[in-house]
Symmetry: C2
Subunit: 346 residues, 2 copies
Amino acid sequence: MAEELSERSQNILEAIVEDYIVSAEPVGSRAITRRHSFNLSPASVRNVMADLEEMGFLCSPHTSAGRIPTEKGFQYYIDSLLQIRDLSPREKQELQKNYRFNGMKMEEIMPEVGRVLSGLSKYAGLVMAPKFTSTVFRQMEFLRLSRGQLLVIYVSESGLVQNKVIEVAEDLSQQQLEQISNFLNQELNGLTISQVRSKLEDELKEERVRFDEMRKNALSLSRVALQDEVVNQIYVSGASLMLEQPEFATPQSMKRLIQTLESKQLLIDLLDRSQQAQGVQIFIGSESRQAELEGCSLVTSSYSNPKGVVGTLGVIGPMRMDYSKVIPIVDFTAQLLSRVLDRDLE
Amino acid sequence: MAEELSERSQNILEAIVEDYIVSAEPVGSRAITRRHSFNLSPASVRNVMADLEEMGFLCSPHTSAGRIPTEKGFQYYIDSLLQIRDLSPREKQELQKNYRFNGMKMEEIMPEVGRVLSGLSKYAGLVMAPKFTSTVFRQMEFLRLSRGQLLVIYVSESGLVQNKVIEVAEDLSQQQLEQISNFLNQELNGLTISQVRSKLEDELKEERVRFDEMRKNALSLSRVALQDEVVNQIYVSGASLMLEQPEFATPQSMKRLIQTLESKQLLIDLLDRSQQAQGVQIFIGSESRQAELEGCSLVTSSYSNPKGVVGTLGVIGPMRMDYSKVIPIVDFTAQLLSRVLDRDLE
DNA sequence: TGTTAGCACTCGTGACCATTGAGTGCTAAC
DNA sequence: GTTAGCACTCAATGGTCACGAGTGCTAACA
């Protein structure tokens, strides 16, 4: 996989990728010798370019145009040539200024982060909330709304709040409900929702629930409360910025892009994948095997609180996006958001 | 305003509008005589068309093209010529099948309604949640999360639930919190949030709060809990369907449309306006004085529960949208959603 | 007097074509 | 190994031209 390239080839590949990133146009041998001062003539550069094309790092849209990097070319560039310098404290401060989360709720923070990500990167920002099933149980409370109707409030370890109205057959007093929630908060504390679910199933089968009315109520109530899969929420911001990019200049490609960003399921799947890993991850082009995202790249990072990963955020842009700028932004934003969640817990 | 048109002019205007709605292209005199069997020659139709143009109902993109209806033309068509037949029970049933709200929370129902609206109309669906400040207070509960941190749950008369984490200086026991919420639920029941806010301000100034610790806590807690304006939530679905429309075929118009739909503020303003009125409302083109929505029309209706209007929904499409199809869809969907909310309350 | 056929005119569209220029590959000389 | 030179390719640009849909006007007709 990791082919060896001579120093010269590397330099030229780097030059081509970087020129292409700013111009979005095929770059020719002449242009390279002009912009970068290799002591080489266009003809020599051409020889190298022919080799690089042979190896699959470059391709030409037609004979008389310059070369553009292929997916493989970008891959190599990112893996081996790109050096991402860390942000200076000053830059970090500058970046941080954009984020004002004071007193915001999670539901407000997330789209806001998306907006800022997109504003800073000039591409589209993505923020995905935690998967409900992987959150850790902390607290559950019940509120009697009317006869047979309860409001359930579930608070996860990471401070996420979910509420839901459920219907119940029998009318329970607020006191009974409190008893129930005390019981549950002790029993279920520290388990993930998936764990909670199987525990509930098991216990409901057990002998003793028959004789313990409260226990039975508690278990079945919480089962109902937690049963539905809450769909993953994803926030997409700045789709229109993507339309400014020359690769999406034609009506067809615009349509496809917007459709893809709008359907969200695809994005959720992609972000889900990156959920596992630590740090910044990069998906280049249709590496994701998703034809819809052809020509796009995704830079993501998961964010977390002390209890673990809670969600994923990132930037989606054209394959030729300015990685050296976007990667630190995504990285730092994830750190920042993690810090906010951390602070919120205490 | 309501100019008089001869029967013949009306017929021809109607024919032009309807042809234009399906073709999206300028319609010429010849085409009209072919498609509709007026016993008139193209030349006569041309005379009428010239008159209609004079009066501002039509315009021609250039001399040798047909005519297209102006905003005023559409306005007249909708006000005077269009007859919207009610849906048959069968159609209603058919439509209703698309909506499955069982057990869904408001936050899930709204985007779902948007998706269905857009799917049925083939244009973009809009659904806006109620304005927080105009909801009616029903219940407020506090949950101690940790030292100095409370989760506030607010339930409106219409069953909307909002929660928020607030920071408090003193550590209140769950018992104290219950006392507080009991007090508030009595005091504030039935008031809108705006009314609640001014009441809180007034009472906090009063003498007796000084001597009644609980009262003071209650008032200031609820003030903090209700102080922030929760941004209006609006769900836009099916933006990509709009891109299929020939009026948005050029890259520029696509970009503008997507930008407009993405920014949301404009849409919120428009839907806000329609919030007041009962029944279906139609905004044609830049009638809204919003250059951004040039070429678009908006068909909206507010939905309500027994306590009053709670939100607005609608369809945004090209000015030449199929009103006779869209209007009943929007109307019936609003009724349907109102019914769901009604049922939910009981 | 209202209707219509005829006709000259307008103007966007699409085909065709020549020109231009950026870029390539190859070869031969350095 | 490098480079200058050269023939070749091909997208893009812009100009010309024919076509056709549609118009407005006029004169003839019922």
